[in-house]
């Protein structure tokens, strides 16, 4: 029931909005997200926007993940070098 796919708001009326995902447009209710603006991405559940996607948080998390991946790479590289040095 909860797909969690963000929907972009392309048109806003009072309590309803037109949301677009993958080129498909659909009317959604925005009464639970009164701060939503045109251009925002929202998570929609059963026809209702339940939260606005925080793009800053999304970017920040990606940065954390990339940092973690780099650390893993470096560790792997160290192990490889140590092995090479021994061999």
């Amino acid at each position: 029931m909860c797909l969690g796919i963000p929907v972009r708001i392309v048109e806003l009326n009072r309590d309803t909005a037109i949301g677009e995902v993958g080129g498909v447009q659909r009317e959604i209710s925005v009464m639970m997200t009164p701060d939503a603006k045109v251009g925002d991405y929202v998570i929609v559940h059963a026809g209702f926007a339940i939260q606005i996607v925080d793009q800053e948080e999304a970017k920040e998390n990606l940065r954390i993940l990339e940092q973690m991946a780099r650390a893993v790479d470096e560790k792997r590289e160290k192990v490889r070098r140590r092995k090479n040095a021994r061999g």
Binding site: I43, Q51, A58, N61, L62, V72
Partner: protein
């Protein structure tokens, strides 16, 4: 999916996260046999199966499915009650698609519909208003199934019905609340759980406060997690870290979930509904674990408007209750894949698109 919408993490990132996860599992398992993490959200169940995460992590880390599928936790009595309404020629049942094929003791809503009952599937509770408005000589009953994510949407429809003066629409409330079920699971100690992968969208509404008891009372690692592969693996990683460093109610899914939840949605829900005791399939009665109508909205309560004849539930050998508590995995049910399949489901865990048996059948049959 749009580029700016999801987590944006590449498969390579997921891979290195997995490497980290497996390293901590190895470390933690030096002084314990294994680690059980439980998710309590049907979308997590499907995602963990679909992305193959169970197979990608160290074998000593077990990912269990909890009672996170709304249809699955609905009791046989409730389902029979709902299906019973469809037999009344004066009533049109309005429901989310999930309920159509769920087996009642005698038949499913789909079978009732084939026999001529008026059952309509909708996408949003708001759609029920237009139906009721268009035929105001007829009674429309909406099946109120779901958790904290769905209940506000149905409450919003009730408020709109009141506003528009629609009197021939009622709701059969069967909603369930997640935190009481978590408490039952940790306190019962039937499964040894080391942490909870908390549901992303239920938490979007309720925030972190309602989960604090997990940490304060049970020292239980907890992490509100999103639905992409990278989200889930990162959520697991955060839980394992908590096992080392101390528990908290963490949020991995920060791009959506705020600590305070969504107060507007809660306000709508709490205007119309209040907590009531409710029975869950496989778990039993739990105080304050469901939602019923507040007195001011009693007119919309289908329980008050119609008569329900109790029917003796049929015994089937279905072990959904144990599956949902993480006591057995779906393949351990003797009926799994043989008598019980998505085409001929015996229990709700096989029919619901979010059920653990359906997830295993679709993605993990050969691996087990």
């Amino acid at each position: 999916m749009e580029s700016s919408s999801g987590s944006g993490a590449s498969p390579k990132l997921v891979h290195s996260l997995l490497e980290r996860v497996n390293r901590i599992v190895d470390e933690l398992c030096r002084d314990r046999e294994g680690i059980n993490l439980m998710e309590v959200c049907g979308t997590h169940t499907m995602a963990i199966s679909g992305f193959g995460i169970r197979q990608a992590v160290d074998k000593r880390l077990k990912l269990l499915s909890g009672p996170g599928c709304p249809v699955c936790v609905t009791t046989q009595e409730e389902i029979d009650g709902a299906i019973g309404l469809a037999e009344n020629p004066d009533i049109t049942l309005v429901t989310f698609g999930d309920m159509m094929r769920v087996p009642g003791s005698r038949c499913s809503l789909e079978q009732e519909k084939a026999k001529g009952a008026d059952v309509r599937v909708i996408y949003s509770a708001m759609d029920a208003l237009d139906f009721a408005d268009a035929e105001n000589g007829r009674q429309f009953v909406f099946l109120g199934i779901g958790f904290e994510t769905t209940a506000p949407t149905v409450a919003a429809a009730v408020l709109a019905a009141q506003h528009r003066g629609i009197e021939n629409l009622s709701v059969l409330p069967m909603f369930k609340l997640i935190p009481p079920a978590l408490e039952k699971i940790v306190s019962s100690k039937r499964v040894n759980i080391s942490g909870f992968i908390l549901p992303g969208h239920v938490s979007t509404i309720i925030g972190t406060r309602k989960y604090q008891f997990l940490v304060e009372k049970y020292r239980m690692p907890s992490c509100i997690t999103g639905f992409e592969a990278s989200d889930i693996v990162q959520g697991i990683y955060m839980l394992l870290k908590q096992m080392k460093e101390g528990p908290e109610v963490a949020i991995q899914y920060r791009r959506i979930v705020r600590p305070e939840g969504n107060p507007e949605a809660r306000h709508i829900m709490e205007t119309v509904f209040e907590p009531v005791d409710a029975a869950w399939r496989g778990i039993g009665m739990m105080p304050g674990s469901g939602l019923g109508f507040r007195e001011d909205f009693g007119l919309f309560d289908a329980h008050k408007r119609f008569e329900f004849k109790p029917r003796k539930p049929r015994k089937t050998g279905c072990r959904c209750g144990e599956v949902m508590l993480g006591l057995i995995t779906p393949p351990e049910c003797k009926l799994f894949g043989k008598i019980c399949t998505p085409e001929m489901p015996v229990g709700p865990c096989m029919v619901s698109s979010e059920g653990a048996c359906a997830a295993y059948y679709k993605y993990e049959r050969r691996n087990d």
